[in-house]
């Protein structure tokens, strides 16, 4: 029960505003440091023996993909919390993460296409990894559209949470698509240790940078929504 009590304590809007105000300077500084160092190391690595200098694209493509999947995972987790425990801040957090996740997904698709052309000879192919990743972008767009389509916030939150949880089925499909099907996209190379350390470290630093950036923007977006709710309450009170 302790983790749930802890979660509910900090999921209180007032406590969240206090906690996030203290955390934001640290996550913002960590973002600048990690992205700065990551960019420097990205352009300092030697060319890959197979992919040449296009290996440089690894350092922006993989972090974007990683954050696109992580952001959707966060939305699904918040949606589950919202549906089971009906906590209003969970809805806010899920809604705030969606546009950021959609941007990371779009960046993953564009950088992947620009990497695919010189390596595969084509910008796009309908293989399992690329198609399931495109589906993730549509899930983000559908989730945001559903939130905006329903006027009653409680109903909108409920319907969007159900959609988010159904869409979460796509996450393991994206991750394991390269193992389950024969794809043009290369297989996993980080956890299996196939990636040389000279490329691994800049990649991990860039992933941390993207992660801190997402966390920073996510907290600011949740704060924005809390302030907007206060404004709506004041407007209703004055009407």
């Amino acid at each position: 029960m302790l983790p749930m009590n802890w979660l509910f304590k900090y999921a209180n809007p007032h406590n969240f505003m206090r906690l996030s105000a203290g955390l934001l300077p640290f996550t913002a500084i960590a973002t600048v440091l990690c992205l700065g160092a990551g960019l420097y190391f990205s352009f300092s690595v030697p060319p890959d023996y197979q992919q040449g200098t296009t290996i440089t694209l690894l350092f922006i493509h993989v972090p974007a993909d990683f954050m696109a999947i992580s952001a959707y995972g966060a939305i699904a987790a918040c949606s589950l919390l919202s549906l089971v425990w009906r906590h209003p801040l969970s809805d806010t957090a899920a809604r705030a993460a969606a546009p950021l996740g959609a941007i990371f997904t779009a960046l993953g698709l564009v950088t992947g296409a620009l990497w695919g052309k010189p390596m595969w000879g084509t910008y796009w192919v309908w293989d399992a990894r690329l198609t399931s990743f495109l589906l993730l972008l549509f899930l983000y767009l559908g989730y945001m559209a559903l939130w905006n389509a329903i006027e009653d916030e409680v109903r909108a939150a409920r319907a969007s949470a159900i959609l988010a949880l159904i869409g979460a089925v796509n996450l393991p499909i994206i991750v394991y698509s390269v193992e389950w099907w024969n794809t043009l996209h290369q297989g996993e190379s980080i956890i299996s240790g196939k990636l040389a350390p000279v490329f691994l470290w800049p990649l991990l630093i860039m992933m941390a940078g993207y992660g801190f950036l997402f966390l920073t923007l996510w907290m600011i977006r949740v704060r924005t929504e809390i302030l907007n709710r206060r404004s709506r309450t004041l407007m209703l009170g004055g009407a």
């Binding site: 352009f43 040449g52 941007i103 950088t111 923007l217 600011i220 924005t224 302030l227």
Partner: protein
């Protein structure tokens, strides 16, 4: 000059970095602007409330 050519792959690498920078910058600007607007709106409303 060779740095910009990136071993002949500059036409793919630089647009990818450019799009990424633009996308992330847009997300930052959009988020901060919305936050600033929300703070200003609330402040104005609190000023009106007796």
């Amino acid at each position: 000059m060779s740095f910009w050519q990136m071993g002949g792959y500059g036409d793919f690498i630089w647009p990818a970095y450019g799009v990424s920078a633009l996308g992330l910058l847009a997300a930052i600007v959009w988020t901060l602007k919305a936050y600033g607007d929300a703070k200003a709106r609330l402040k104005a409303l609190e000023g009106k409330t007796p």
